[in-house]
Amino acid sequence: MEVYKTLAEIPQDELFTGGHGGCRGCGAALAVRQAMKALGPRTIINIPASCMATIGGSGLTTAWMVPFYHSLFECAPAVASGIRAALDIQGIKDVNVVSWAGDAGTADIGFQALTGAAERQENIIHVCYDNETYMNTGGQAGSVTPYQAVTPDTPTGKPTPRKDMLAIMAAHRPAYLATASVAYPLDLIQKFQKAKAIQGFRYIHILAPCFRGWGIREDQTVQLARMAVECGLWQLYEEVDGRRRVTVIPERRIPVREYLKLQGRFKNIDEATVAALQAEADRRFREVQS
């Protein structure tokens, strides 16, 4: 399996062009741009309701250079399964079918279609670009919003912890499962290249910060995505046949507090929570070293 080893090898062709409708410093558009470098032109993208469905255009103009289908919120993986079945009947083999959903289209509203497609071992790639809130409708809290994050409908901080979506998806025993971050583009692109070469159900979860939802400056999108990895709250790994391999061990480590204090949404976080998150990050780093 050949993967790109350096940034210089990555093609400059854009399959998701500039001029799209994303905000300044949009993490979601950045994730798509990076992923399309690996997926290539023989790809069908299927997106449920999310920011990404509107960023790429609708109606008379589009930023996509590949077929793009906007499905309903609940059913992106089910529609992707259908697209794959239609291609199979026509004997078309060399096309990647991707359902690209936000965290709501993956973990909450789209979950029943996702778990169904994973259980049937559909030959599709499901991508979750995770900005940890419902940004398309104004930033409401969802099940993967972190504990004590301030959102419009949890003004004093979310009262419950984040759902561990990766553990849930790992329990489906997918052919390939990976986490990625927009701050590590080479790692992200390599993971898409590996996923593309594997048959069966593949799941990739990308941390793609949203400056509005996180209460950061618009130029800090990539910085925060990197700090999440450096502090240990977001680990970059891949799982093939249930065996986990950590792909990026950050060059420097930072305390969890440094990552949290830059974000306006954690203004109410208490010391006990910071200490608990730090303990969890330390445990993950110890596991990697052992």
């Binding site: 998701f16 062009t17 001029g19 905000c23 741009r33 103009t61 589009t62 590949v66 999108t221």
Partner: protein, 96 residues
């Protein structure tokens, strides 16, 4: 067109949004000092708007796409990119 040539969005030709001009959204623009640039190409992949391209060992800014977020300037490992304000004089007036 054969069925194997995949159709794109039925109502829109591929990449039609690339004709849009994002200059109206921009408050600042990146200026690259090629003397400091070491061509690591990180900025090319950190730009959400595909506004930076490498051409003959030089990084070029496509201002038509640039929204002026400043990610490239913040992430550049050699600090070769600076953001320069689009406004001159009274705030709200574009000097063109």
């Amino acid at each position: 067109m054969a069925a194997k040539e995949l159709p794109v969005v039925p109502s829109a030709r591929p990449g039609t949004m690339a004709a849009a001009d994002m200059s109206r959204l921009r408050e600042q623009r990146p200026v690259i000092d090629m003397g400091k640039c070491n061509l690591c190409r990180e900025c090319l992949l950190y730009c959400p708007d595909a506004a930076l391209r490498e051409d003959k060992n030089e990084i070029k800014v496509y201002l038509q796409f640039c929204k002026g977020c400043g990610i490239c300037a913040l992430e550049c490992p050699t600090q070769a990119i600076t953001m320069v304000g689009e406004y001159a004089g009274n705030r709200g007036f574009i000097d063109k």
